[in-house]
């Protein structure tokens, strides 16, 4: 687009400013993780590596990371299967109630977490009489993760069209063979992108988790919430946050590479 020089510079400056605001709190967290002050005073009074050492020896923190990864992996796997099925149904067929179903998929993320949380809590404990455990968390997480897979896959299916699938059927491939050899390979990167989002969503979820986790189940957000206001634990929480942001570069970069290599440039 032919933007004036002034307009380009203004837009660039605004973008840079917003990025500064986005990263400022994260930099404060980074600083706090090295600060000798356990309260949040600024500027930090001194430098220490104590919290970094303690964070990597904190059994509670490491356990919580393990629990969160386990929950997120299973919830993502369920969401991948259900999300793919539902997007194939909605994209490849026209039928009565299609809009209702697409609303149904969006609903668990559109309604506030606390509502989903107390609804599931009430459902598991009072109605079904099932004690809360790690599985109730997985079920809850999978429910609101379906939408991220659904969005990615249905967008891909819409773009792919049905020509290749029809060609495959014309050449004698059955329904399953066509899915395995034609549809699935083309969906792979959309599944990866949707799966990554689902994983991130589950990994960071706190509200629904609060209401669906059994008493012994400590996911990372629950651990953080329990320790955030304790003076001697708060800097450890800061360390965990810094590690998470740094580690997250890898999956984001991968997802970008994948979608970038397939996208048609504008």
């Amino acid at each position: 687009m032919r933007l004036g020089r002034a307009a380009r510079i203004t837009l660039g400056a605004v973008t840079a400013l917003i990025l500064v605001v986005i990263y400022l709190p994260l930099l404060v967290v980074l600083a706090n993780s090295f600060s000798t002050s356990t309260s949040l005073s600024w500027p930090p009074p001194g430098f220490t590596l104590e919290w970094w050492g303690r964070a990597f020896q904190s059994a509670g923190a490491l356990d919580a990371v393990g629990t969160s990864v386990a929950v997120a992996v299973v919830a993502t796997a369920v969401a991948l299967v259900l999300g793919t099925l539902i997007s194939l149904a909605l994209q490849r067929f026209a039928f009565f109630g299609r809009d209702a179903i697409s609303l149904l998929v969006v609903l668990p993320i559109a309604l506030p977490g606390i509502i989903t949380g107390i609804a599931l809590n009430n459902f598991f404990r009072t109605i079904l009489g099932v004690p809360l455990s790690i599985w109730t968390v997985v079920i809850a997480h999978a429910t609101f993760c379906i939408v991220t897979v659904f969005n990615n896959v249905i967008a891909r299916l819409r773009r792919l069209g049905v020509n290749l699938e029809e060609a495959s059927a014309d050449l004698g491939a059955g329904v399953w063979t066509t899915f395995r050899l034609v549809t699935f390979p083309q969906l792979r990167s959309a599944l990866l992108a949707g799966g990554l989002l689902a994983f991130a969503l589950s990994f960071d979820e706190i509200i629904v988790t609060t209401f669906t986790a059994g008493s012994g189940v400590t996911t990372l957000p629950i651990f953080i919430l329990n320790n955030m206001f304790r003076p001697n634990q708060a800097p450890i929480v800061a360390v965990i946050a810094v590690v998470l942001v740094v580690v997250s570069i890898v999956p984001i970069y991968l997802a970008q590479r994948l979608s970038g290599s397939e996208q048609t440039r504008r």
């Binding site: 990025l19 986005i22 600024w42 506030p112 063979t177 083309q186 706190i206 953080i224 955030m228 504008r266």
Partner: protein
């Protein structure tokens, strides 16, 4: 990718195996195929989610035995009446909707320039870097980010330190802090759909507009905004509904000004009154359904 597969595997000869017959049956009966595709996900969403939700909402019409604290199935409209007429609930509802609206407006105003820069001005390399830069904070825990703002906004925090020389002060904890923190938390969720929407606006249309004499602002107003509108609305669904139900951020930076989520939380926990909590929960549900119904015609739901 696909061509490698097809050249490696010659089409299998039709064999009259069971799998083959099943496949032929499915090809001939699309309705069965649809049913098989939908069975599992619909079962999950309806049984786990809709049933749970409906059962919660039904609870709003029940009552709690004030003596034993157990839920009694006495059909009553008392909870609904309390929520609709109580001054506390009206105040908090207005405050919550106000906060959610303010957060949404702030986020859209911030997201538009950065999304436009990412989609239409930045080169491919810078574009990729910017997408990563916007996505990365999403992986820092929600709680840590809210806590970071608690630290930024505190009386001896970095904001006070930065503003004091200018004669200004940090807003401290309260409604303003809640709005700032929520806007911060949901900003990436608003940027991404708007960015994706702007990416889909063909450059040729923008060029056509300027060829026809449209200046930058005219092109923005008459070409870019209408085309990106569904994506913008999709972004607002996130910021609006996420703000409407939040209670944790309010606990961390909100001071004494409660939101609807806090009322629900208190009634589930300390007050042990699930029916009243369910009645309060109806407020955001009705508001969000109203909002979704309002924006459905813009096609925003396809842009989430």
């Amino acid at each position: 990718m696909t061509s490698a597969h097809t050249t490696r595997r010659a089409p299998a000869l039709p064999r009259a195996s069971a799998a083959r017959r099943g496949s032929a049956f499915l090809t001939a009966h699309p309705r069965v195929r649809l049913g098989l595709l939908l069975a599992a996900p619909l079962f999950w969403l309806v049984v786990v989610y809709i049933v749970a939700l409906v059962l919660l909402l039904v609870t709003a019409f029940w009552t709690v035995d004030s003596f034993t604290g157990e839920i009694r199935i006495d059909w009553t409209l008392d909870n609904i009446v309390t929520v609709l007429t109580g001054a506390l609930y009206q105040t908090v509802t207005l405050r919550t909707v106000g906060v959610a609206a303010a957060v949404t407006v702030i986020d859209v105003l911030l997201a538009l320039p950065i999304a436009f820069f990412m989609a239409k001005v930045a080169g491919p390399r810078l574009q990729r870097i910017l997408v990563i830069a916007v996505l990365m904070p999403l992986w820092a825990s929600y709680l840590v980010k809210a806590y970071a703002w608690r630290s930024v906004l505190s009386q001896d925090g970095i904001l006070e330190w930065l503003l004091a020389p200018l004669g200004l002060h940090t807003p401290g904890y309260g409604l303003t802090a809640t709005i700032i923190t929520l806007s911060y938390l949901w900003l990436p969720y608003v940027i991404l759909p708007i960015y994706a929407g702007l990416e889909r606006v063909p450059d040729s249309l923008l060029e056509a507009s300027s060829d026809l004499g449209g200046r930058t602002w005219r092109t923005m107003r008459s070409v870019v905004l209408p085309l990106a509108f569904p994506a913008i609305v999709a972004g607002t669904i996130f910021s609006f509904s996420l703000s409407l139900g939040d209670y944790i951020t309010v606990n961390i930076v909100g001071g004494a000004s409660q939101m609807l989520g806090n009322l629900v939380y208190t009634n589930v926990g300390a007050a042990n009154n699930l029916p009243l909590a369910a009645a309060i929960a109806l407020i955001p549900i009705v508001i969000i359904f109203g909002y979704l119904a309002l924006v459905r015609r813009t096609g925003a739901l396809d842009n989430l």
